[in-house]
Structure formats: C-alpha cells, structure tokens
C-alpha cells in the first residue's frame, strides 16, 4: 500500500477545489466566502507541507512516478506562500474591475495544484499532466478581465504559443521515451547514453518547451504582451509561480534523466542564460509600461537563474533556488507597490505615473526605491546576495565568460531601474494616489520590503534550508 500521507497536500487541495466549485454553484453571491475558504485551504496545505518536510528525506510513490524530497517540499512551500499572498492582495483590484467572482480563487487553486504535481513529478507523464493543469488554469486567468480587449488578446496569445510549446515538449518526451523505453526519470537516467543523435533532438525539444514556460530568450515573445494585457494580480501570479514550478522541473530534467548527457545540454543552457540576461537588460530600457518592463526584467532574472543551472553542480542548483526565492519576494513587493497606484477606482501602470511619487508618498517610494535597487543587485540588499550566490557558483566552475557577461548586463539593467527611481525622486509630482489600501496589501509590502532590506543580517538561514537539497 502506498503511503498516501505523502501526497496529502495535493489530495487536500483537490478536494478543496471540488468543494469550492460545488459551493460556488449552489450558493449565490459566494465570492467572498470562496475567497476566504481558498485562502484557508492554501494555509492548511502549507502547514501540511511544512510538517512533511521534517519527516521526509526522499520518498517515491506510485511506481516511482512521484517524488517527495527536500527540493519538492521547499518549492511547494514557496509556491503555496506565493499563491496565498497573490490571492490575498487581489481582492481590491478585482472588486474595482467588477470581476470579484468565484472562478478566480478556484482557478488559482487548480493552477497551484498543477504546479505541485509538476514539482513532485518523477515521470514524463505525471510531469505533463501537472504542466497542462497549471497552463489551462493560466490561460483562463490571463483572459480573466474579459471585457477588456487587451486581456482577451493576452489570453489568446498565451494559449496559442503555449500550446505550441507543449506540442514541442510532448514530441521531445516521446523521443526520449523512444530511446530509453521508459517514462520514469530514474530509469531514463540509467538507459540513456550520448551515442544517439536523435536523443539530442529529444532533449532540445524538451528544453525549448521548458524555456518557453519560464520565458527565456529566444522563447520569450509571449511574455511582454501577456504580462501587459492580463489583470495586474494575474501578472503577479505569472511572474512568480509558474517560474518556480518550471525551474524545479528544469532542475529535475537536467540533473536526473539527462545528467549523463551534460555535454549535450550545458551549452544550450549557457546560451539561454546569456541571451536572457543581455536581452532582458537591453530591451527593458525603452519600455514605458511598468508591467511590460517587469516582463523584460523577469526575462533577465530568469537568465541569472539559468546561469546557476548551467554550472552542473549542487552549488549552482542551490544558488538558483536561492535566487528564485529572493526573486519571488522582490516581485511580491514590486507588485504590491504597483497595486497601490490607484486613484478613484482607476489603476495606473505607466512609468510616468510614478513621477514625483516621493513627494506625496514618501514611504511608498522609499520601499519602491529599495526594491528597485535590490532588483538591480546593489548591496547590501537581498538582490545582491541572490546574484552573488549565482556568480559564486558560476565562477567555481571557471565559467568566466558567463559571469562577466552576466555582471555587465546587471550594469545595463541598473540603467532602467535607475530611470524609474529618477522619475520617482527627481521629477515633478502629480496628483496624490488613494491611500486606503487593504491591510493585507500594506502588510505584504512592508514585510517583503523589510525582508529585502534586512536580508543581509541573517543570510545564513536561507542557505541552511537550501543546502539540504542535493540532487546530484
């Protein structure tokens, strides 16, 4: 008998989704209660997952197609906390656009479920199932503000391109299956050798599909449009959660089934990483919409995460995970600021709308200042340490070119972050924004900003947690 306790979080969240759907259908005006119950469900799931972390080192289930280890637990916890915060700060925004409906929390929950399946997958089929579950939920979320043309456009674009990449991914999986005779990662790992030419095609297709999901250059084209068109809270969801899941899968693919084929994929990852870092930095310079700018900046950040993966070392994996964790906090903070730019039921998302913010809203602009400097990687803020760990791992493998290109692109990237700061601090002020924000929004901004600012005092804790992850 399998130990079903291990997938209790997934089971619990599935049951909650079903229950909430039924509740939503049978009860009128149940938006509020659905929201609160989903938050509660996520909270319970988080507690179960955290509880599980202490007892499990590495367990597999269902003929080894699902794996529970320290990496999956950590990533699930980050996903759940991220999901919780996204949901909790969404409500004011959704109410403003009159889309405060029951579908929103349920879709978010399904997407989180899909991600959790992805994170735990140790089998091509389980992985694909999870991927599709989260993607389908995301397509709908992108179009969630369906009265707006841009939102529908974003959803459609995302759907078409994502379906294409899923196709590539599936084709890659089928090739890998063809050469190894199994869909299980561990068995594939033992069966594969680098003699087969067509196997390389399989790997490339899979990597392309995954690169699409995390929007690495040159498979990033969807990101700016989708980020701009989707409702802001959904954009926040896009910038953090799918990246965590896809990164975990990336790590699993590279370091479990394809570990022996390192010569085949290392150059690809290095290329993806350099291209993303450089492109993310350069393309963001001309942007005027903050959400588009964040899209490009997140492309750049994905590049740094991939740089850690390219090292093919435990240090590299750990540094990538640290990077993505800090990235999540920084983006939560950034979007909290963005959601505060509201005046008379209208949200502002152009960079020029920030003009002179520091005069009317000194605290808000101070936190935004810290967040932006942190994103730019200036010490002593958290973003610097994130980059530092990455480059430490990269230089350990003597990949000097990658490190120098990466660091030089931080200088270019600093330019566009500075431009926002310039607009906030050096330019003329505009009208005041509303200040009656929800408590959760204020709380998430305050806590994440303090984390960013004071990370340097306690840097060891995060490392300690992450250092338990040993994939290789």
């Amino acid at each position: 008998m399998e130990n079903l306790n291990l997938i209790l979080p997934e089971i619990f969240i599935s049951l909650s989704i079903m229950f909430l759907l039924i509740l939503g259908v049978f009860k009128n005006n149940s938006s509020k209660i659905t929201f609160n119950l989903s938050l509660f469900a996520i909270l319970i799931t988080t507690i179960i997952t955290i509880n599980e972390t202490f007892s499990v080192t590495r367990e597999t289930l269902f003929n080894e197609s699902v794996v529970i280890d320290s990496m999956s637990s950590l990533m699930k916890i980050i996903t759940l906390i991220g999901g919780f915060l996204v949901l909790v700060i969404s409500s004011t925004y959704l109410k403003t656009f009159k889309i405060y409906n029951i579908e929103y929390p349920i879709l978010i929950l399904s997407s989180i479920l899909g991600m959790m399946v992805m994170i735990s997958s140790n089998d091509l089929i389980v992985f694909y199932m999870g991927l599709e579950l989260q993607s389908l939920a995301l397509y709908v979320l992108a179009t969630y503000n369906r009265d707006q043309l841009k939102s529908s456009e974003a959803g459609l674009k995302y759907f078409v391109l994502s379906a294409l990449s899923s196709g590539l991914l599936l084709y890659g999986c089928s090739l890998v299956y063809g050469f190894s005779g199994s869909t299980n990662f561990d068995i594939i790992s033992n069966q594969l050798n680098s003699e087969e030419y067509f196997l390389t095609f399989g790997i490339v297709f899979i990597l392309v599909g995954l690169a699409f999901k995390i929007s690495a250059v040159p498979f990033h084209m969807w990101a700016p449009d989708v980020y701009e068109g989707s409702p802001t809270t959904v954009t926040l969801f896009f910038t953090i959660l799918p990246k965590i899941a896809a990164l975990t899968v990336f790590i699993r693919f590279l370091y479990v089934p394809f570990l022996n084929l390192i010569d085949q994929w290392q150059m690809i990852i290095v290329f993806l990483s350099i291209a993303s870092m450089v492109f993310g930095a350069v393309a963001a310079i001309g942007q005027t919409n903050i959400k588009r700018l964040i899209a490009y900046s997140s492309i750049g950040h994905v590049g740094y995460t991939l740089a850690g993966l390219a090292t093919a070392s435990n240090d590299g994996i750990q540094s990538s995970i640290i990077y993505i964790s800090i990235y999540v906090v920084m983006n939560l903070a950034l979007f909290s600021c963005l959601l505060m730019l509201r005046r008379k039921d209208q949200y502002y998302e152009d960079i020029d709308d920030l003009s002179g913010l520091s005069k009317n809203h000194p605290l808000l602009s101070l936190s935004l200042l810290l967040i932006l400097f942190s994103l730019a990687g200036i010490p002593p803020l958290a973003g610097f340490f994130a980059k530092f760990y990455i480059f430490k791992a990269v230089l350990e493998q003597s990949m000097y070119f990658l490190a120098i290109v990466g660091l030089l692109s931080t200088v270019v990237a600093a330019f566009y972050y500075l431009r926002i700061i310039k607009i906030m601090y050096f330019d003329k002020e505009k009208d005041k924004y509303d200040t009656d924000h929800s408590l959760w929004l204020k709380l998430s901004l305050t806590v994440s900003t303090i984390l960013i600012l004071l990370y340097f005092i306690f840097p060891s804790q995060l490392i300690e947690v992450v250092s338990r992850i040993n994939i290789i």
């Binding site: 200036i378 002593p380 600093a414 330019f415 310039k422 060891s460």
Partner: protein
C-alpha cells in the same frame, strides 16, 4: 571581547539616520533634524579620536579586530584598522559634521532626507576603510552608490539627472569586474580574509588578471584619466555638501583600495603594471591641469584639480617607495581637507550670488576680506605651498618618484607648476581685479557657521603643514611593513 569600537563607528550614523527617519518631517529649516545629525556625527568624531589615541603606533598588525561569522564558511564580518586606514576613518568622521553644518543654505527642500542620506553615506564610508574581508569591503564600497546617487540626483543642479546616472553607471561598471575577481580569489585561495590573504599570497599566474579587475574598479573611482569624466559632472551638479563628501572621502576609497588590495594582494602584478599607472597618472596630472586652466566654472576647475591631485596619489603609491606611499597617504588626507575647503568656499559665494562662473566675480577682496584670506590659504594649500599639508604630500611623492623613475618625476613636477598656475589664476580672477559686477557689493562676509567650518579646515591644513609628525608616525610602521612584504614577495618570485 572588548568593546566593538569599529562596529559602533559604523553603526552610529545609521542609528542616527533611523532616528531621523522616525521623527516627523517638517518642511523648511528643520533645526531639530540638523541637531540630531550633528550630534551623531560629532559623537562619532570623538569616538574616532579616541580610537586614534588608543591606537598602538609601534606595530603594523591590525588592531581593534572584530570578527563574526556572517555566512557560514563564506563571509566573515571582519573589521580592523592599521596605520593606513585609521587616518581615513578620522578624515571621514571629521568632514561629515562639517558637511552637516554647511547645509544651511544650499539645501532648500527635504532637509531631513538629505541628512539621512549623508549619515548613511558616512556609515558606508567608515565601513569601507575598516573592512578586512574583501566581500565586506565590496559591500560597503558598492552600497555607497545608493545615497550618493540620491544626493546628486535630488539636490543637485540643473543637469543633475545626467550626472547622477553617469556617476552610478560608471562606478558600477568598474566594480562588477572587481566582484568577479573577489569571487575568483575565494575559489583560488579559499578565503576572502585580507589578513590571511596577506600571509598566503596569491599565485603569480592569476595576479595580473585579478589586478586588472581591481584596477578597473579603483581607476573609475579614483578617478584616473581617461575614465575621470564622471567626476566633473557629478561635482558640478552635486550640492555643496555632496561635493565635499565626494571629493574629500569618496575619492579616497580608491586610493586606499590601491594601497590595501592592489599592492598588498598582488605585489608582482603591481610591479608589472607600474608603467601603466605611471603613464595614466602623468597624463592625468598634465592633461587635467591644462583642462582646469580653461574652466569657466569654479566647481569644475576644482573638480579637474582633484583629478590631477589624485594623479599624484596614484603615482606615489606605485613608486613602491616608502616616501612615495607615505606621501600618497598624506596627499590624500590633505586633499580631503583642501578640496573640502575649496568646495565650501565656492559654496559660500554660490549661496549669495547663485553663480559658479568665474566671470561673475572679481574684486571680492574689497567686499569680503575675511573670505578672501581663507580662500587664499586654501588655494595655496592646494598648489602645495610649503607650510601647508599639500606640500608635505607632493614633496614626498616626488621624492619617491625621483628614486624610482627620473623622467616621470620631472614631468610630474611640471604638473606642480601647472597646479600653481590654475589655482592662482582662479584666485586672481575671483578675488582680485576690478569690482565690475555691481551686485557683488551687497555681498556679506562669512557668517558665524561658515567661518567656523572654514577655520576648522584651515587649522589642520596649517598644523600638519608645519608638523606632519602625527600623521607620519601613525602610518610609518604600516607602510614600512607593506614595503617589506612587497620586497620579500618580489625576492621570492
């Protein structure tokens, strides 16, 4: 464990800044905020004086060392001072309160924020000078960019945005390569602790590249020709207090870095690249002196003179002679005092006339005599008149240079003459001559606080000019030890 005096030096200004942050922000002349900031910095200055008194001058090893584990097995928070760094700390704690007193007129809006930025800046600068771990050094070195960017950008003049960006991006670009080098050193030797690295030494085959990476950062910050162009822009647009901080202390970070890291960690590479430094320094001295001659703007002129003076400093450091290095350190301290004083004197007339152009002025001596006397003293100190601290530095540097390379020393000496030319010509055009501009007649002479600040700067300039022993005694053992270490490293090559 003793009282953590260095950490308290670093932390105290930040605590003051936090305190200010939580006080209510009043518009206009916020006296309370100013007194709080002043009090914090003065206390810090007293602590640093106590540090100097209890400093043991007879040993070259690091003192007041504090070490704490920061990131397990990676970074230790380690600070300490030796004869070289202690003077820079005192310079920092001495200049900052003067900056705060001087903000009277130049900063009109958001005074509280300005003071917070200055206090945080002080913390970072002290941190740079006492860090004994490469990563801790890097953290402080880079973190200083944030407050300085804001000081130039928010409170600067017309072209402040351009200057702030130029300052930030130039220095960041220089520094990222240093970060690569620091991490590489960690992987090569297994530590980033400077004291340990001094003992272990770094393999010769890596030294050249690592030296160049550090150089890229320090050269921008010094600034050396041809990457000096951010400095005049930043200076001209920064408010007076910002210019003072920038010229007096920020520029010294790089000179200090050259001595502590380039010479200390890469002795062989330093020898290899001496010709490069000599060439750049000599070009800087001659070229920027000539540019300074042609400036219309007083602040720009002083900024270019700073580049020339820093050219002397880098020249002196890489003579690798006792006199040269000692001269460089004294020149840095002296330049810290003199350039601060000169920027403040420009600030005084700028506050009254709102013009930095030399052509606005002329004949000031008959209107504001006290000012003219002090200005003369600082101008003479800047050109290195015997009896001022500027002379001691330049003289020792040239002595070291003559020992090492005759030609370079001769060219550099021409720079001294050019220095005298642009300073005296500036002084002549501003202070002497006919009083043509009618508005100047209404000018008031120095008020109490300005008089106090400028006298505070004049006293050490004269004192150390006549009696440099306290400075030389402090640095002597450390410099001798540095030279010895260098020589043994060269001998064992």
């Amino acid at each position: 464990m003793n009282f953590p005096i260095l950490s308290s030096l670093i932390l105290l200004p930040t605590i003051g800044a936090l305190f200010l942050f939580f006080t209510k922000n009043k518009e206009g002349n916020n006296l309370t905020a100013k007194y709080v900031a002043l009090f914090t910095t003065v206390v810090n200055f007293l602590i640093s004086i106590y540090l100097w008194i209890s400093f043991d001058q007879s040993t070259s090893s690091f003192q007041f060392i504090e070490e704490r584990i920061w990131i397990e097995g990676l970074i230790n928070y380690k600070v300490g001072v030796d004869g070289i760094s202690i003077l820079f700390i005192i310079l920092t704690t001495f200049i900052t309160p003067l900056c705060i007193i001087s903000v009277n007129n130049s900063v009109k809006n958001r005074l509280r924020d300005f003071l917070i930025a200055i206090l945080i800046m002080e913390s970072f600068m002290i941190g740079v000078f006492c860090a004994l771990d490469l990563l801790v050094f890097y953290l402080f070195f880079e973190a200083g960019l944030i407050p300085m960017f804001l000081i130039i950008g928010i409170w600067g003049g017309a072209r402040r945005v351009y200057s702030a960006f130029k300052f930030f991006l130039y220095t960041l670009l220089g520094s990222v390569l240093m970060l690569v080098a620091i991490i590489s050193i960690y992987w090569i030797t297994g530590t980033t602790d400077v004291v340990q690295l001094y003992e272990i030494g770094i393999d010769v085959k890596y030294q050249n590249l690592l030296w160049l990476a550090f150089f890229s950062s320090f050269a921008v910050k010094t600034p050396m020709w041809p990457v000096h162009t951010w400095l005049p822009d930043a200076h001209v647009e920064a408010p007076t207090a910002g210019s003072v901080l920038l010229a007096a202390i920020l520029l010294k970070m790089a000179g200090y870095g050259f001595i502590r890291f380039s010479l200390g960690l890469f002795p062989i590479a330093s020898e290899v690249f001496t010709p490069l430094i000599y060439t750049l320094s000599v070009i800087a001295i001659i070229f920027t002196s000539l540019i300074a001659l042609m400036q219309e703007d007083m602040k720009k002129l002083i900024a270019y003179s700073s580049v020339a003076h820093m050219g002397f400093v880098t020249l002196g450091i890489f003579t690798l002679q006792q006199q040269g290095i000692e001269g460089s350190i004294i020149q840095m301290i002296s330049h810290g005092l003199v350039s601060a004083a000169l920027f403040l004197t420009v600030g005084v007339v700028y506050d009254r006339m709102h013009s930095r152009l030399i052509s606005t002025y002329g004949g000031l001596v008959s209107v504001i005599p006290k000012y003219s006397i002090l200005f003369m003293l600082f101008a003479l100190a800047s050109l290195g008149l015997p009896g001022t601290s500027g002379f001691i530095g330049e003289f020792l540097i040239l002595m070291g240079a003559f020992k090492d390379n005759f030609l370079v020393a001769v060219i550099a000496s021409i720079g001294v003459i050019l220095g005298a030319a642009y300073m005296l010509w500036l002084y002549k055009r501003v202070v002497f001559g006919k009083l043509i501009n009618e508005d100047l007649k209404k000018m008031l002479d120095l008020n109490r606080s300005e008089y106090f600040i400028l006298s505070c700067l004049a006293v050490p300039i004269l004192f150390f000019g006549f009696y440099p022993d306290p400075l030389i005694n402090t640095i002597e053992v450390s410099v001798t030890d540095l030279i010895n270490m260098h020589n043994t490293n060269m001998a064992s090559k």
